[in-house]
């Protein structure tokens, strides 16, 4: 039996893997989201673990309580994977660089985007980071001409995600619920 290599996909990380021994693992997805591209003929899985929707709003180099000034992506390439608008094009680029063919994509899957409760408070849509992430990722995918086939998004629970590169199978677990395999019907 082949040895399985577990690779953890950290927040803001983008990976493209064709090694069939690899199991990609994201132990906890809260408001963040995983975007999964799968090229079945090439046994290639590409994943971006996106944290926030918009690179023009957040400013990691400024005081947290200060007015955001925007991000200089040229100054820090590591920021690209953090935001939906920059991560999705970079994901597609990484996918192609590993030999992936967008024309033979079996599926584009989205996982995550949970949110905290908001009981009648203001700023409801803004506090829903998870929901905003999903919208931003769908918009970014649409810009590069990619559809969304399967989603496991929203709610108030954290998700655990495992993706087997050999089969392309993605398994989502949430505490208290049975595991769900994300397959095209």
């Amino acid at each position: 039996m082949a040895t399985q290599i577990i690779e953890v996909v950290e927040m803001a990380q983008i990976v493209a893997v064709s090694n069939r021994s690899v199991l990609l693992h994201i132990p906890a997805i809260g408001a963040s989201m995983a975007v999964i591209l799968y090229d079945k003929p090439n046994h290639l899985v590409a994943v971006a673990h996106v944290v926030l929707p918009d690179s023009t709003v957040a400013s990691p180099n400024n005081n947290a309580f200060g007015k955001p000034k925007g991000v200089n992506l040229d100054a820090d390439a590591n920021l690209i994977g953090k935001f939906a608008d920059t991560a999705v094009p970079a994901l597609l680029q990484a996918f192609k660089a590993q030999g992936g063919n967008p024309d033979q994509l079996e599926s584009v899957r989205l996982v995550g985007g949970a949110q905290m409760f908001n009981f009648g408070g203001g700023s409801a849509s803004l506090l829903n980071v998870g929901g905003r992430n999903e919208i931003a990722i769908r918009t970014a995918l649409s810009r590069v001409g990619l559809p969304v086939h399967i989603t496991h998004c929203g709610g108030n629970k954290v998700r655990e995600l495992r993706i087997a590169v050999a089969s392309g199978q993605a398994l989502v677990k949430q505490i208290g619920d049975p595991p769900v395999v994300l397959e095209i019907a």
């Binding site: 927040m11 957040a58 990691p60 947290a64 955001p68 506090l127 954290v158």
Partner: protein, 319 residues
């Protein structure tokens, strides 16, 4: 995430209420921190305590000395030379930083256990605690930079408060294990926070039980306030000092970000609401700063990893 933790969980239709005597008995059954740890904890809150006294006490416990030195030498502290003695640690890091480091070691002994009721594997609650501590300390430092003339909050104290905030889960775990589906359903259907649903179904919440543990262990009042009100800082008693109010609100914010970023989160998930009023009172404009803060906190996960992996086996120090 301990998804398998609920295997075999009872789905009893009748909620099991806890009584005060049950809770007190379970608090009494919690393993007491070692004597040196208890003494260190008290010493840390003594304003007259000297660095030499603390170093002298830590040295009495080989295990604690080893763990403190491992933490000092972890990449998270970024010291440019190897620390070999507790005396060196005090000199290089300063007394205040050493205090929070000792609390990190103390909390490891207490929180590093599986909590099936909350769906947390061994290590998850502790990683969650350290994450919240690191986030809260960073928020406090940023808050001081932005508002230097406002009441000062000690980032090291906030770190400790954030780490201990969910200590009540240690005692409530068995009750939540038996009642989880009902608690989660109640929270959703009645649009209340998970801890309010705990109180409704079990009779106690992890915050109220946490306060009782804090009292039993003679933890300082401000830590007790953080434990009791970290989900609801705007409900703090009116006589709460501005400094303590800031402390609890910053812990509340750090707790929310820890949930949103998903570190060591259990079955209660993100079933809590944000106390927007207290956050606004702190001077934070949530409308413009939420994403900005989150973007920065993500980068601290490497610090958390360094801290936790220096005390946990590598295999269990995954977030």
């Amino acid at each position: 995430m301990g998804c398998e933790a609920f295997t075999g969980m009872s789905s009893a239709a009748t909620p099991q209420k806890a009584t005060l005597s049950d809770i007190i008995e379970r608090i009494d059954q919690l393993p007491q921190p070692p004597e040196v740890a208890m003494k260190a904890s008290k010493l840390l809150e003594d304003p007259n305590c000297t660095a030499e006294q603390l170093a002298g006490l830590i040295k009495l416990d080989t295990g604690m000395t080893t763990q403190v030195l491992r933490l000092c030498n972890s990449a998270s502290y970024g010291l440019n030379r190897k620390i070999e003695t507790i005396k060196d640690a005090v000199a290089m890091m300063g007394f205040t930083a050493l205090k929070s480091l000792v609390y990190t070691v103390l909390s490891h002994g207490t929180l590093n256990k599986p909590l099936q009721g909350y769906g947390l594997d061994k290590g998850a609650l502790w990683i969650n605690a350290v994450t919240c501590g690191v986030y809260a300390k960073y928020l406090a430092q940023q808050f001081q930079l932005q508002f230097p003339k406002q009441v000062s909050v000690d980032p090291e104290v906030i770190y400790t408060a954030a780490m201990l905030r969910d200590i009540g889960k240690l005692v409530l775990n068995d009750y939540v294990k038996q009642n989880y589906p009902k608690i989660a359903e109640t929270a959703r259907e009645e649009a209340i926070d998970f801890m309010e649903a705990e109180a409704e179904i079990i009779g106690f919440s992890h915050t109220t039980v946490g306060v009782q543990i804090a009292d039993k262990w003679n933890l300082p009042e401000r830590l007790s306030l953080a434990i009791g009100y970290h989900h609801t800082p705007s409900q703090l008693p009116t006589e709460t000092s501005p400094a303590d109010r800031q402390l609890v609100t910053l812990v509340h914010m750090a707790d929310a970000f820890t949930m949103m970023l998903g570190s060591g989160i259990g079955g209660d998930g993100m079933m809590y609401s944000l106390d927007i009023k207290s956050i606004q009172d702190l001077g934070c404009n949530w409308d413009t700063q939420l994403d900005n803060i989150m973007a920065q906190l993500v980068d601290l996960n490497q610090v958390v990893k360094g801290l936790t992996e220096s005390l946990l086996p590598v295999s269990s120090a995954k977030q």
